[in-house]
Subunit: 233 residues, 4 copies
């Protein structure tokens, strides 16, 4: 979420292309304190406006226990990001809002540890848990992370929870996103989290991994035969 | 390759299910010198018999410069295994036989290094090079390796060579093989290398990652819609 | 911190052996919600009692923004644990207490990212920052983590902050702790964080990596020539 | 080994500073076929000349079964490099020369696998085996590899063989070499393998990790108190 125009044009475009949920960051965890940290409550209000206009549900990241009530007021689904995947107090606080939780995998979490982090949600009386694979940290440098698609059949075997794949963060390169989406769908993923921007080259963060609005629409078309092959709709 | 009965029954079964090439190990690189090291030339002769009976082409691993002539006499395609992926003298010797080369990725090779290892084949006047992703070594312990399916679109972009995926070695678990094959096909893989054994529980090595003959036939059926979706035959 | 007797006997023993600071966990981040989570405020009070009796300064971990005031009331130094090393809101809240901060390295943080996490402390007007290397996550399974001792000269070159080494967490095995301490001292570490328990086999967590009281006293003796060789006191 | 002048000036300088063995590469395994591959037999002859002039023993790498007799004729100790650490046929061939073997750790070998690779030497009637830690491949990018100094006490516990540390390859940066050498000595290493060049900035490979002749002499001085503290000579 950078500004109203960028957000609303993106929301309308992805809605038209077939998306059902909009993920936007109002509070952004950044490696350096000197990078753009998000618009905060102003960003949440823009997300609410996008929801009103498009009917898309909203996912946004919670990164502080201080913001639990504020974020829960606006979000339909609360994201716990990779850096906070073992911030257990945050997981508990998020779970207790009763909102569905999207739990990203930490960059060096074993699947067993990820499942146990999920238990911090489930054991706090919140069964609406989704797991989101976004790549693990390895020695490979061609990609930003190594997207571990094996996690899809494993999580489906070890848990009842939906499994979402984030190829944008996983690859860190827009040119690999379409191929990774096809693989994820074929392997049984329940959802895809794809970064989109009207002008990726002008994005305030992570521009190289974002699809254009046209690129996203084309991706949605290309996925259809794989969705059908996987027996999904 | 363990014995004639095991090999021929497997060869006939995979041929019937649609396989076109048979990979069998006559010289096997084993972590410990006290494990089964392969049948050597006797294994190569069994592979040749399987070819005569079924018409399947033969891939087998070369792991010593001393065996170049012997292996080239029997193999249609020479495999260079993961542990020897940067054994450059072996790559050169294999390339000079003129046989097609299947170059597995070393467990900690960056893609750039893998491409450069391939140059040891290409620069020795052998353009028949295939790359085979078989998983990289990471911290995850649920799987034996982490199969890096991102390598498919990357290799297709960076090289003209066919890209083969080995999900058996990648996952180290038979229960994940079918899902990984579907993902690989959807992402554009040109071939799959799947381990099969008439009785995996009695295999002399790596039994837990091998499909049964029936499991392989079922996999070939399940892959059809994904092959079609990918626009391949 | 398990109970008064365990804590005080440990505190007196390490003080006698030459320790100057006592690290004890009152709020413990555990991989599973079903493991011992620490004694909370009761644990903090026990730590305060140990300080009164021995004169040792107290380090304890902060793992929730909700506990900032409580922990700051008892602690002389606030530890930010590995799992929260990129929990930036927690870093900011801890920094603003004005207390010295011990920032552990996340298990998959590059040194550059660790330095930038430290900037969240330094840029909030708190210059009393210490870095603590506790091992990174790799493929090696003999040790719990791979202690990256190279981080000592690197941090000394890139930062003015003291560098502490935690070999207990790094190795996850008591039998390697003495050797790693010697290496750390020789390489210029400013402090060592060593886990000690009166009866490691009965510890409520991580018993296999804890030294006995006698083992700690012996370690302190063995380190003397290395401390002298490093020109420290 | 680049030329006679470079090699002999280095050999005399390190001998004077206290070195007892000279490692020089005549056959060099390079990631790319288009990089300098070593001088071959001409390099071996230069090494023999350096031995005659200085009395230093010679270590050099064997990277092909075709060169076993040639290398064994010149070398006092045969090095098996990291890329060939699981090239078992080469290990067997090297072992059978009867020469002492220096076995480098592969960049993604677990210690258990390294010990088993060593068994390929020991079980071929060659007990003169040395292990050499040269860093493992991790996600860290500040250093070329992550030098796993924990391997020293582990190998000393699990094997009777001498343990050598290669900080030049481990760090990939000359500025970290001295500190890593001190740590290695303190932790019980039996030897150090340090890269030295009269003019590192003009070296044909790996210049950034090489000490100058003066730097090496200074290092040898600085190590003395740590060698004494470790009870070695």
């Amino acid at each position: 979420v950078e500004n109203e125009r960028q957000l609303l044009s993106t929301a309308h475009a992805v809605k038209k292309a077939g998306a059902t949920i909009l993920r936007g960051g109002a509070f952004k965890p950044r490696t350096s304190p000197y990078e753009f940290q998000g618009l905060g409550q102003k960003g949440l209000k823009l997300l609410a406006k996008a929801r009103r206009e498009t009917g898309l549900a909203i996912i946004t990241e919670l990164l502080s226990e201080q913001h639990v009530e504020l974020v829960a007021e606006y979000a339909d689904i609360i994201q716990i990001g990779a850096r906070n995947a073992q911030n257990f107090q945050l997981l508990i606080a998020a779970a207790r809002t009763g909102k569905p939780i999207l739990l990203k995998r930490g960059p060096s979490m074993r699947i067993e540890e990820w499942l146990l982090a999920g238990e911090y949600v489930l054991s706090n009386n919140n069964a609406n848990l989704m797991f989101c694979e976004r790549g693990i940290r390895t020695f490979e440098t061609y990609t930003r992370n190594t997207l571990d698609l094996s996690a899809i059949p494993i999580l489906k075997a070890e848990s009842h929870c939906p499994m979402i794949i984030d190829p944008s963060q996983g690859a860190g390169r827009a040119d690999l996103v379409a191929s990774l989406c096809k693989g994820a769908v074929a392997m049984g993923a329940d959802g895809l989290l794809v970064e989109v921007h009207p002008k990726p080259s002008e994005a305030w963060s992570d521009g190289v991994q974002q699809l254009t609005l046209e690129g996203f629409a084309q991706l949605m078309e290309e996925l259809k035969p794989f969705i059908a092959a996987a027996g999904r709709e």
